[in-house]
């Protein structure tokens, strides 16, 4: 139970053991290990290409690992899994899609089943429960394609949680959100993790919006991962070891930047991989 606070009778919802993935001769994941307990909110942090999406796909069973294993609630994952809720990065929601937010949430219960959907009072009650859990009452009867990015994320979270999974995975949910919507989604997830005792693993290339609320950081670089509390991981020594290159952790106000060492050549590694994202970070700082 690496990282679980002593005395806390936390149940482990996810265990990743020495997970490696090789695709086309490239090592995408290199002996990644970490655990996640119920009610714990973890940020999966890393630049694009660090292996975050691959890791999530292995946990979901969409990619087979070349070595290592994934345990969900202490057991190997089964195919028809309602144990994992998942919010994918790319969702295709055309404005003309004839689906209301509440219909999409309902698909989280029985979208994998064949035949026409049957409505029941029980099903509707559960949908209403999820709608209020993510604060989506105002747009529950609107078409999903007409909702803003933040509203869509709330609906997708409700969709993912309606089948009462113990584990929720989100792939870059903040990528296309403005700062305020992103902050709202993060706060919502933090509340849900605690109230519903769900283990939440959220991938992001910028850790700063997450730092105030996450219990754990799983930091990825070049397919390797380091896991622990933010204080343990976001340190010059730990990250330098992970990157196998000297990096510097710099705190600017309440923001953390991870930059490459060797003084003059300052290159932002931890939260972004190009200048555009760097600018984006500055905006959030002044906000």
């Amino acid at each position: 139970m690496n990282g679980a606070a002593p005395g806390e009778s936390s149940t482990e919802v996810l265990r990743v053991d020495d997970l490696s993935v090789r695709l086309g001769g490239r090592q995408i994941l290199d002996e990644v290990s970490f655990t996640l307990a119920e009610g714990e909110f973890a940020g999966l942090i890393g630049a694009n290409g660090a292996g975050k999406t691959t890791l999530l796909k292995v946990i979901l069973g969409l990619i087979q690992p070349s070595a290592g294993r994934v345990l969900i609630n202490g057991a190997a994952r089964s195919r028809h899994s309602s144990q994992i809720g998942y919010v994918p990065q790319k969702i295709d929601l055309d404005p003309d899609m004839p689906l209301r937010a509440r219909d999409l949430i309902g698909l989280g219960l029985d979208g994998h089943r064949y035949g026409l959907p049957l409505r029941s009072a029980q099903r509707n009650a559960r949908i209403d429960e999820m709608i209020s859990a993510v604060d989506a009452e105002k747009f529950a009867d609107s078409r999903i394609g007409n909702l803003s990015g933040g509203e869509q994320q709330r609906v997708m979270i409700a969709h993912a949680l309606i089948s009462r999974p113990r584990l929720l995975l989100l792939d870059e949910p903040l990528a296309n959100l403005d700062l305020r919507s992103g902050q709202e989604v993060v706060t919502l997830l933090s509340e849900i993790a605690k109230q519903q005792q769900v283990g939440v693993l959220l991938s992001a290339h910028d850790m700063n919006p997450l730092l105030p609320v996450i219990d754990r950081v799983v930091y990825m670089a070049a397919g390797r991962a380091a896991s622990g509390s933010a204080e343990q991981i976001i340190r010059t020594e730990t990250l330098s070891e992970l990157y196998r290159h000297h990096v510097e952790v710099i705190r600017v106000g309440r923001r953390v930047l991870v930059v490459a060492g060797e003084e003059p050549a300052i290159q932002v590694l931890g939260q972004a991989d190009d200048c555009a994202d760097h600018d984006h970070g500055d905006q959030s700082n002044s906000n």
């Binding site: 979901l60 899994s81 295709d92 004839p98 698909l107 064949y114 009867d141 609107s142």
Partner: protein, 294 residues
């Protein structure tokens, strides 16, 4: 009373309801409209309109080959479209781009065959109308013996589509999401493509191979702009399809008296014109309402 009967006589030309070919046309046309609209609603939602249109053109090869065997053209349409759908799926598994390329390749090959078969049709059979029938349909020439065949294929396509209702919706949103829920995404995609092949074949039988997309996409695209629930879209699209076919048949029947030579205008023209007009009007009416359902 008198004026009403005169008016109705003007709309329904004499003999309309007593005419055998009209009955067959209306019956087959309605079945085809419902199947096309239902399958088409998912075609539009899944962004497979290009595959749908390709299949309709591809069907030309089957429709053209049928008289050479000879078998009724519906068997030619279904056989070629089902094989083409399977090929498209095999060739274009990986990405949307691969899917488009596969569709294009199969389309090109099939049109080559269509050119050969249509040429053979005109040189070896005495029926010079075959080319026009295959390409543009002839709903009034359908034999009533085809009704059970059309009904059979129609029920098969509808059953597949309605069985896959929820998995299709889920995988339209995200195939990864559907896969993590245990949906066999690949199986669902193949089964749906087969239903699409059959629907397009039925449509080709009524309004012709190259126009059949109109019945597939038109009612569905119109309905998707007007309602916000999938079930409502299926019902509305079916209604629009049936209305367009019924009105088209009626107008074509009436049009005989519009022209001096007594030949009238082709029914496919009326059906497609009605579908197109309905879509354009819907587009204009809803164009300023981005949040029309909010």
């Amino acid at each position: 009373m008198n004026s009403v009967s005169i008016k109705s006589a003007a709309i329904f030309a004499p003999g309309f309801f007593a005419n055998g070919p009209v009955h067959t046309a209306l019956l087959i046309g309605s079945v085809v409209a419902v199947v096309s609209a239902t399958v088409g609603t998912f075609t539009v939602m899944r962004g497979q309109s290009f595959a749908g249109h390709a299949l309709s053109d591809i069907g030309t090869a089957g429709g053209a080959a049928a008289p050479l065997i000879p078998v009724p053209s519906i068997y030619g349409f279904v056989a070629v479209n089902v094989v083409a759908a399977a090929l498209m799926d095999l060739l274009g598994v990986r990405s949307p781009r691969a899917r488009d390329v596969a569709t294009g390749i199969v389309l090109g090959g099939a049109l080559g065959l269509a050119a050969l078969f249509l040429y053979e049709d005109t040189t070896t059979t005495s029926n010079t109308g075959t080319v026009a029938t295959v390409l543009f349909g002839s709903i009034f020439a359908l034999q009533s013996s085809l009704i059970p065949v059309v009904a059979g294929f129609g029920v098969a396509a509808l059953t597949i589509t309605l069985l896959l209702y929820r998995p299709l919706l889920l995988s339209s949103i995200s195939t990864d999401l559907a896969a993590t829920k245990g949906v066999r995404v690949r199986l669902v995609a193949i089964a749906y493509l087969l239903a699409l092949a059959v629907a397009v074949s039925l449509s080709a039988l009524t309004i012709g191979a190259i126009l059949s997309t109109a019945l597939l996409i038109g009612p569905a695209a119109t309905a998707l702009r007007l309602v916000k629930r999938t079930g409502q879209a299926l019902v509305l699209a079916s209604g629009i399809g049936v209305a367009a076919v019924g009105l088209g048949v009626l107008l074509a029947y009436d049009s005989v008296s519009w022209t001096d030579n007594g030949q009238g205008w082709p029914v496919s023209f009326f059906i497609v014109a009605l579908l197109f007009g309905t879509y354009v009007i819907t587009l204009l009416v809803t164009r300023h309402q981005p949040h029309r359902n909010a």
